[in-house]
């Protein structure tokens, strides 16, 4: 496919790996923010092809993983109601709540439906005027334009049997929370390209300056990631801490102003709890008061939910990059993609699931052929 295949070219990748090795003189620790980037890095073995001492830490940018347990439990409470059609992006269905997950609830008879776009939820609401249709509005800045548009359209068209359970998180406050932690080891960031396609990169200048970290807006294909890593290492080696854009074909400095306009018509910024991380100030979107009638939490009175995480799950340490799945006693034994204990094992963007599907630490030697195969370098 155009704009995908050419960014997977093994010959160019090989050259980039060699260039990274040429410029690297010291060990560096770089965090890729987005789960989509983690998936490519682990699947293609990009982290294993880097010079010894250059370490990739996998960041918290998996929306499924950081959706707080309370919100999952609220989703379960709402979805269990007989008058509700509960709609969600597919990867939320197997996220474990305190007692069960949406997929199990569906198997027991709840009307839970997977939608590709929140506009599909609106169509379901229009087709079922006697039912309540709820959409689980989760995600980072990337899904916010879509989720905001669904609420905006519901208001414009007067679709009153539609509501949203909002659990939106924002990337820059999470980066700041990581950087200000005493245990922080991150020296440079690969910022999530598609988050920046929506929001631009102006909000990263103060972070780069305050914490003296290079931030490189980076795409998702193997060549994008290798080039982003190279740009970050060049900055680190030269002692610079600037905001640079590797992903120029899709990201402009100002982002997408029309998308931002719709987001801020519908949402306002507020505190948000992150699963495994805790409360981060001003790190999420909430519905503005004028759209409160579309708030599923109010409509179905799901306050006062008691939550319980599985005691063996170390998702918090995984999400902040303090530990890898290989340091978790439950990984691959108690916790597998078929029977996940925590959210990072659920989504393909989660670090645990990415490690598992690449066969890391579970006794499977046959891994998908790394794009930069060792023999290709000889």
């Amino acid at each position: 496919m155009k704009y995908l295949d050419e960014y997977r070219d093994p010959v160019l990748a090989r050259k980039l790996v060699a260039e990274i090795r040429r410029v690297t003189t010291r060990p560096w620790t770089i965090m890729e923010v987005c789960g989509g980037q983690t998936h490519t890095i682990v699947k293609q073995g990009i982290d294993e092809s880097l010079p010894h001492g250059v370490r990739m830490i996998h960041g918290p940018g998996c929306p499924v993983c950081v959706t707080p347990l309370e919100q999952v439990d609220k989703a379960l409470a709402i979805a269990a109601r007989p008058d509700v059609i509960f709609t969600s992006y597919g990867d939320m269905l197997r996220v474990p709540g305190s007692t069960t997950d949406l997929l199990s609830l569906k198997a027991r008879g709840a009307d839970v439906r997977i939608v590709y776009s929140p506009l599909d939820s609106l169509k379901i609401a229009l087709a079922n005027p006697d039912r309540q249709v709820v959409f689980f509005a989760v995600g980072f800045e990337t899904t916010a334009p879509a989720n905001a548009m669904a609420v905006w359209q519901a208001a414009q068209l007067g679709i009153d049997n539609f509501s949203v359970l909002v659990s939106h998180v924002l990337v820059p406050p999470a980066m700041e929370a990581l950087l200000s932690s005493p245990s922080n080891r991150v020296q440079a960031f690969l910022a999530a390209g598609h988050v920046c396609a929506v929001m631009g990169w102006n909000e990263y200048y103060p972070i780069a300056a305050r914490y003296h970290v290079p931030i490189v807006v980076t795409g998702f294909e193997p060549l994008d990631l290798l080039e982003g890593i190279l740009m970050a290492i060049v900055q680190l080696e030269e002692g610079r801490a600037e905001v640079e854009n590797q992903y120029a074909r899709a990201v402009r400095r100002e982002g997408n102003p029309l998308a931002q306009e719709t987001i801020f018509r519908v949402f306002e910024i507020g505190d948000r709890k992150w699963r495994g991380v805790g409360m981060i100030p001003a790190s999420g979107y909430h519905l503005k008061p004028e759209f409160a009638r579309f708030d599923a939490e109010r409509r179905f009175h799901v306050e006062g939910i008691d939550t319980r995480e599985h005691p063996a799950c170390i998702a918090g340490a995984i999400l902040t990059g303090e530990k890898t799945p290989l340091e978790c006693t439950a990984y691959g034994v108690l916790c597998t993609p078929q029977k996940p204990l925590g959210a990072p094992m659920v989504s393909s963007e989660g670090t645990c699931a990415a490690f598992y599907s690449a066969g890391r630490g579970i006794g499977i030697e046959a891994r998908p052929l790394p794009m930069v195969a060792p023999e290709a370098l000889r």
Binding site: M1, K2, Y3, L4, V11, L12, K15, L16, V17, A18, E19, R21, R22, V23, T24, T25, P27, C34, G36, E48, S49, P51, H52, G53, C62, P63, Y89, G90, D91, S117, P118, L119, D120, V138, G139, F140, T142, T143, P145, A146, M149, Q153, L157, H194, A197, V198, F220, L223, E227, Q246, A248, R249, A250, N256, L258, A259, E349, V372, P374, L377
Partner: protein, 108 residues
């Protein structure tokens, strides 16, 4: 959910006041919302997230990135050639056991 994919715009129309369209992802076709990229014309490539185009792919920038990558490789090959045999070993920080296998061989 968070994975954005580039696709080619093959149809543009208006539905209930929203600019919608169809996008081809290498043979798979999907209905998408184009309201956030009003500048697109048929044949443009857009990045799609959960049924919404969030960005138009800039063909010039895309070509430029690939050219820079290709040239960078050539420059490096020339540089490596001037180093002579034995000098093309990578800049390894240390050679402790556990260094990935890809690091063991010469660059080319």
């Amino acid at each position: 959910m968070c994975l954005g994919i580039p696709g080619k715009v093959i149809e543009i129309r208006e539905v209930a006041g929203l600019q919608m369209g169809r996008v081809d992802f290498g043979g798979v076709r999907k209905e998408v919302c184009l309201a956030y990229v009003p500048e697109v014309v048929l044949g443009d490539y857009v990045i799609i997230h959960v049924g919404f185009a969030i960005s138009r792919v800039d063909e010039d920038e895309a070509m430029q990135t690939l050219e820079i990558l290709a040239q960078m490789g050539d420059m490096m090959e020339q540089e490596l050639a001037t180093m002579g045999p034995g000098m093309d070993a990578p800049a390894v920080v240390d050679d402790a056991p556990g260094t990935p296998a890809v690091m063991a061989g010469p660059a080319w």
